[in-house]
Symmetry: C2
Subunit: 422 residues, 2 copies
C-alpha cells in the first residue's frame, strides 16, 4: 500500500482545475489512440512473463546461468536496474544482474572480469538497434568471450528491440531469440515492457506482482482520477518558474537507482520547447536520506525558494536492527535513540526533516510505501509515469520525444568521420 500526501501550501484555482480536466482528457486520448503505449503494459506484459518463465524453465543454458548481463544504456537499463536494487535484498536467490552501460573502458573491463560466459546470459537491449555505446559494448562482449554467433553460444544471447529494427534483422539472420518493444513505448517509459520485464523475470523476480501493482494504479487513475496526482502535476506545471526543481528525498539506500530512474524520466520528458516556442521544464534531482540531509538540506532550508521536495519513505524495512542500549562514556548525548531501531530512526529523521522543510515554507509532498515489495514498486513506477504525462500535458509539450539529444549524436558521427582527434 502506498499513501500520498500533499502539503503544497497551494490551492488549485479555476485555471488549474481546467488544466487538470484537460490533461486528464489528454491522457485518456493518448491511451485510446495509442499515442503512448505504456498505459497498456501492465496488462500486455503479463504474456511476456509467462512466455519467459516457460522458456527459462525448459532451457538448459538458462538453468545453468547465475548472471543476467544487460547490455543497454539510459532507458534500456535504468528501469530494470532500479527494480533490481530495490528488490535484491528480498531475493537472496535471484540471479545476479550486471549492467554494461557506460562506454568507460575501466568500468567495462572490471565487469568483464566478473563474468563467466558459461554461467551468463547476455541481453542486448536497444530500441533502434543502432545505439553506438550498446552496439560497441556488444561487439566487445562477442570478442572478449569468444562468442560464436552461429554456434551454441547464440543461446546465451537475447535481444530486446523494436520490431523491424536493425538489431531485429540481425537476430533474425542468426536465429537468435528476441523480444520486441512496442513502437509507442519510449525508452524511459519502457521498464514494464520487455525491456525490464524480460531481464527481471529471468533474474527470478516476481514480475507478475510488479505488473499487478502497476495495473492497479492505471485502473484507479482512469476510473477515479487519483486527484492527488492531478493536483501535484498542476502545481508543478503552474509554478515551474518559481519552483524550478523537484527534489526527491528518498529514505532508504536501496532507492538510489530509483531516484536516478525518476531523474531521467522527468528530465528527458519535461525539458522541452512548448507549442508556443518557449523553453520549459522543471528539473529533477534525486537525494538519499538521511545521508544528504547532512548537506543538501542546508540549500533547501536556507537557499532560494526555488525547489519543491518529495519525501519518499518506507514504513517497514524488510529487516531491522536495534540500536543497542549501550551507554558510552561521555557520548550520552545520542543515547535518546537507544533501544529504538534503525527503522524507527531513519523514518523519524525523514519526518523531522519534512517538518523542518515545511516550516521554511517549502512545498512538500510525501509518498509512503508500507514496505518495499513488487506491488508497491509497480504502483510507484506508474505513479511517476502518469505524473510525468500529466505535467507534460499541462506544459503543452510533447512528453514522449527527445529531439535535444540528437544533435550530439550527429556531431559524434562527424567527429569519427574526420577522426576522433581531428
Amino acid at each position: 500500500m502506498i499513501t500520498y500526501d500533499l502539503e503544497l501550501g497551494w490551492r488549485a484555482d479555476e485555471e488549474a482545475n481546467e488544466r487538470m480536466t484537460e490533461a486528464f482528457g489528454n491522457l485518456v486520448y493518448e491511451r485510446e489512440k495509442g499515442v503512448a503505449g505504456y498505459y497498456n503494459l501492465p496488462e500486455d506484459s503479463k504474456l511476456i512473463v509467462s512466455e519467459v518463465q516457460a522458456f527459462a524453465s525448459s532451457n538448459e543454458v538458462i538453468q545453468k546461468c547465475d548472471t543476467i548481463v544487460v547490455i543497454g544504456i539510459g532507458g534500456s537499463s535504468l528501469g530494470a536496474k532500479a527494480v533490481d536494487s530495490m528488490l535484491r535484498h528480498r531475493y537472496p536467490g535471484a540471479r545476479r544482474m550486471l549492467f554494461l552501460e557506460n562506454p568507460d573502458p575501466v568500468d567495462i573491463l572490471e565487469k568483464f572480469a566478473t563474468i563467466t560466459k558459461e554461467r551468463s546470459l547476455f541481453l542486448v537491449i536497444s530500441k533502434s538497434g543502432t545505439t553506438v555505446e550498446t552496439m560497441s559494448i556488444f561487439k566487445a562482449v562477442i570478442d572478449h568471450f569468444h562468442i560464436d554467433l552461429d554456434g551454441d553460444d547464440k543461446e546465451r544471447i537475447i535481444a530486446i528491440t523494436d520490431e523491424g529494427s536493425a538489431l531485429c534483422h540481425f537476430v533474425d539472420h542468426h536465429g537468435i531469440k528476441a523480444y520486441t518493444i512496442p513502437h509507442n513505448v519510449g525508452g524511459r517509459f519502457s521498464v514494464l515492457s520487455s525491456v525490464g520485464i524480460v531481464p527481471l523475470t529471468l533474474a527470478g523476480y516476481d514480475t507478475c506482482t510488479l505488473l499487478a501493482g502497476a495495473a492497479s494504479m492505471v485502473e484507479r487513475f482512469f476510473d477515479a482520477q487519483e486527484e492527488h496526482l492531478l493536483i501535484k502535476a498542476a502545481f508543478i506545471a503552474k509554478n515551474w518558474e518559481t519552483y524550478r526543481m523537484n527534489v526527491l528525498f528518498a529514505y532508504a539506500t536501496c532507492l538510489e537507482d530509483f531516484a536516478k530512474w525518476y531523474v531521467q524520466l522527468w528530465g528527458e520528458s519535461l525539458g522541452k520547447i512548448d507549442r508556443c516556442g518557449n523553453r520549459v521544464g522543471p528539473t529533477p534531482a534525486g537525494h538519499i536520506g538521511s545521508v544528504d540531509q547532512h548537506s543538501f538540506l542546508q540549500l533547501v532550508m536556507q537557499g532560494p525558494r526555488d525547489k519543491s521536495v518529495t519525501f519518499l519513505k518506507v514504513e517497514r524495512f524488510e529487516k531491522d536492527l536495534e540500536i543497542p542500549d549501550i551507554r558510552l562514556e561521555h557520548i550520552q548525548k545520542s543515547d535518546f535513540v537507544n533501544g529504538h531501531t534503525f527503522n524507527e530512526l531513519i523514518n523519524a529523521e525523514c519526518d523531522a526533516t519534512r517538518r523542518s522543510v515545511m516550516k521554511e515554507g517549502v512545498p512538500v509532498d510525501s509518498i509512503t510505501l508500507d514496505r518495499i515489495d513488487e506491488a508497491n514498486i509497480g504502483e510507484l513506477i506508474l505513479y511517476y509515469e502518469l505524473l510525468t504525462s500529466l505535467t507534460g500535458a499541462m506544459l503543452h509539450i510533447d512528453t514522449y520525444d527527445q529531439p535535444g539529444v540528437e544533435l550530439g549524436k550527429r556531431i559524434l558521427v562527424k567527429t569519427f568521420q574526420k577522426g576522433p582527434n581531428g
Copy 2:
C-alpha cells in the same frame, strides 16, 4: 596535469572585477586568520601521513586487516569514499574500504555480513562526536561484533574527531587511538584532514602525492590567482538567479562519488541567507556521461536556460579496450567507431555533447585531467574548495556554517522524547 577552459559567453565587467579582487582578498584573510583551515591541510596533513604509515607498519592488528570500515556520515565519509572510488582500479592491492553511513537497517546488515572482525579496522568519524547516526551505528558495531572496549579489541578502533569533543573524551577514557580534526575545518572541507587522510593512508593509497597535488593548487592560487577560478566564481555569483543550477557532467564511471562530494560541498556551503537577509545560492547537480546524456541532456538542450554545465573529462584512462572491428549483419550503422577504443569513444561523446550544448547558448566550462591519479585528484579537490570559497565570498554569505540543518536535528530529539510514533 589538469587544464581548465571557460566558454561562458560572458565577459567580466568592472563590477565583477571588483568582486574578484575583493573575494581573493577575503580568501587571503581567511587563510591568514585561520577562518577556514582547509588552506593549510595540504602542508599540515603530511605529518599525519607519516605518523599513520609508521604506526601501521609496526602494528600487528593493522597488518592483518584487509578492510577499513569507516563509520561516518556526510562530510565524515563522502570525501574518502570519492577518492577511494577514483583510485580503486589503480590499486588492486589496497585494503577494501567499507562505509557505514546511512542508518538504513537493510544496508547496515548487508554490510555487516561482509565484515570479519579479525581482519577489520573500525574508524569512527564525527567532528562533534555526537552525530546520532554515526554513534548509533558505532553502538551496533560494538554489539554485533562483540567488541570489548577495554580488551584487545580496542586496537581495532580509531576515532577521528575534534579535540575536546565527546568522542575525544570517550577514547581517552578507554585508551583508544584518535586523530583530531582542526576546529576550523568543517566536515565538507575535511577530506584532506585526518578525516580522509587517515582512512585513505591505512587503505594503502599514496596520500603524500594527493596532498602534493592539492598543495600545488593552493600555491598557484595564492601566488598567481588562477584567473579562471576567479572568473568562474564571479560568473556563478553574478548570474546565479539566471543560471540557478550548475550541472557537473563527469565522463567516467568512477567519478560518480566525486560528483556527490561536489554536490554536498557546494550545496551546504552556498545555500545560505546572505548578509542582507536574502536567500541565495546556485544548486549543484551531478551527472555521469555518457549514460546521462541519454536523458538529462534533453533538459539541458531544450529546457529553460537556467543551467550552466561543467564537463569533467579524463584524457587517458588507466586501461583501455578496443571496439572490435566486427561487422554485424544489419547493424553497420554503428560501425563508424570500429577499431577505435572506448577511451576515444567516451571522450568523443563528451566533446560532441559539449559542442551541442554550447550551440544552444548554455554557459559551459571544462576540466580536463590528463589522467586520474593522486596528484590530479588532490588538485581537483582544492579547485572545488577554492571555487566554493570564492563564490561564497562573492555572494556575501558565511560559506562555512550550516544553520539550516540544525532545526531537523532538534525536531528529531523532541520526537524521541515523545516517542517516535507520538
